[in-house]
Amino acid sequence: MLHPLKTFSRGGIHPAYNKFSADRPIEYGTVPERLLIAVNQHIGRPLEVLVKKGEEVTRGSLLAKSSGFVSSNLHAPAAGKVEKITRFPQLGGQIGETIIIKTENPGQSLKEILDSETPQSLRLDALEKEEILKKINEAGLVGMGGAGFPTHVKLSPPQEKPIDHLLINGAECEPYITCDHRLMLERSAELTRGMLILQKLFGGVPVTIGIEDNKPDAVKAMGEALAGKRGLSVAALETKYPQGGEKQLIKAILNREVPSAGLPMDVGVIVQNVATTLAVYEALVYNRPLMERALTVSGNLIKNPGNILLPIGTPVSFIMNRFEIDAARVRLLLSGGPMMGRASFSFESPLTKTSSALLFFDGDYVHRRRENPCIRCGSCIDACPMGLPVAQLTESIKGNLIAAHAKGDIMDCIECGSCTYVCPADRRLVQWMRVGKSIIRREN
């Protein structure tokens, strides 16, 4: 190849991408009868609930307030009445505090709601940095790629860590998921404005959007949208999982390596997801808190997979009705992609700010294999994008004998699942790594 595509240097895998919904435009969803809004959808301090049972709420009213800096507000996506506040199973298996709202106008299209909200004129050069951050904080933005880290915190690095490059993560390396792909195609102009806002925040540093080359139309659309914008560029990346991992993306585009136990800001970079960047745009131009998100609904059980915009708090069962999924046939419900997504056990669990996909699989597709002994083949070590000796680390975790020098290695695991994917002995390597991380966190 004359111009090899950019990629990260070690490890990585090529799973079947199965992007069945790549050519399906994002539909507008409707408001369900009940919204179940999980109180804690972010990483950080738990929220303080402001509403009580029986209270009337309108679209955009604050349901729960952040209780510290690393925290994120929560707003009502539709008008209604608080029915109760209870513990409820969430996507991802936890059981958490949930505000249940009986909506006023069930069946109302989101298009109708969004069209009624008018943008305000925004002059970028007149915007103060503090004002942008304040609006992002108030809008309750979190990283929508899956981690749920409060965006305003990520965008406020300490003084001693100067930022010289912003990256927008449009890699979307997880199989099945196509919602970011569609956002880049359909809303490239707004995304560009979002990138300009972020650029303004850091005094005009270059902003690059990284897109895997299995989405040539998105690379083209973003290239056209960014043409002539100073400092904004597109980087086409090799299609390899986990290209969209923060550290991998930085390595691929800028050839900088985030140090062990470090953050991207240690190498002068901040990475934001495509959907988050769009939410930044909406927070500033529409004064709109994060109340709905685009997600992919796919899996082998669905005849017509698609992408849909839905209010946060929509229960899975509502989506199953819309996509005509037979609950009796679902053997596995995944929230997120098949590599890093979490299995869920309740069809009533609601969408959160971080649900990028819902995948439905039946028994033909789910194989339950026994965990076999390690055969010392080293495939996991070759596949690890962080270059970790996975086989040795997991054995030490299993024996509860984590050597002091291995703790840093274990904490560096990004839980991408490449090792488990390649393991011929079907070992639950990522889960062991997560056990190790939890042991180390408990010790500290």
């Binding site: 936890q94 299995a343 056990f345 309740s346 339950r368 639950r428 889960q431 056990v435 042991i439």
Partner: protein
């Protein structure tokens, strides 16, 4: 022909000089150690389990001799062994009851239905990273045997989805208590036989929905108890073992059978 005696004499000479050195060193650097420490250590179970809170059986013996008391009791040794230890120290052994580990749950497969099919690592802590519960009740025993692996005395096993504790084999060392991520294992005096086998603090209706034998916080036991030994807090009954007299009144009135009698089970060794 006497040459053969020369090496013999030389070696004997070396032996004499060196043994003299050893004799001198043993007198010079002699540390007095109470012989009772060895005597006590010999009486202890030598499990080195740390159940007493000390580093092992030797540490226990050293502390007992140093303090000339048995304020720390070896939870593993039986009463006879402890009175022998007390005899070495020249004191009376206190008559503390043996404690046993108790599971505050009866969420067997029949009582609390499986909420999902768990296919991950067979370990409670690992499962807790993926889901808050594998059963309908989020407070229930996961049945993935983290405590069984922590037990050094083969006193625990998983049966029908929950942990079953053999109170004869249980030594009360308490190693299993921190091994439970759901904090369902508690120590109770073996002579107290009444146990509330539930840890669900949800409202009665919600608790009943997820488990047939859940404590629903109906207060019947609290009203019935003549000894002020059972109290309902947060929709969950709890027994004060200092006051419980094993009258079984609460067991009889409990509408969901979540209060059970323990320690009367018959254990049959599997062949």
């Amino acid at each position: 022909m006497y040459e053969i005696l020369i090496p013999g004499l030389v070696l004997s000479g070396f032996a004499l000089v060196l043994s003299g050195g050893l004799l001198y060193a043993s007198k010079k650097f002699y540390v007095y150690e109470d012989p009772r420490i060895d005597a006590i250590e010999a009486l202890l179970p030598a499990a080195n389990c740390g159940g007493c809170g000390l580093a092992g059986c030797r540490a226990f013996a050293e502390q007992a001799v140093k303090k000339e008391s048995l304020d720390v009791i070896c939870p593993v040794a039986d009463a006879a062994a402890m009175s022998a230890v007390a005899k070495v120290l020249g004191i009376e052994a206190s008559g503390a009851d043996k404690n046993v580990a108790t599971l505050m749950c009866h969420g067997t497969h029949e009582n609390s239905k499986e909420a999902l099919e768990y296919a991950g690592i067979e370990d409670c802590w690992a499962a807790m990273l993926v889901t808050d519960s594998v059963k309908a009740c989020a407070f229930s025993c996961l049945g993935l045997a983290s405590c069984v692996r922590a037990c050094r005395f083969d006193a625990m096993k998983i049966e029908n989805g929950i942990v079953v504790i053999d109170e004869e084999k249980c030594t009360g060392c308490g190693l299993c208590v921190p091994a439970c991520p759901k904090t369902l294992l508690h120590m109770r005096p073996q002579t107290s036989e009444v146990v509330v086998c539930c840890f669900n603090t949800e409202r009665g209706a919600d608790a009943r929905k997820v488990c047939r034998v859940a404590c629903i916080g109906c207060m019947k036991c609290q009203k019935t108890c003549a000894h002020d030994a059972i109290h309902v807090n947060n929709f969950l009954a709890a027994i004060d073992y200092g006051k419980c007299t094993n009258c079984y009144e609460c067991v009889d009135v409990c509408p969901t059978d979540s209060i059970q009698i323990k320690g009367k089970e018959v254990y049959v060794a599997s062949a």
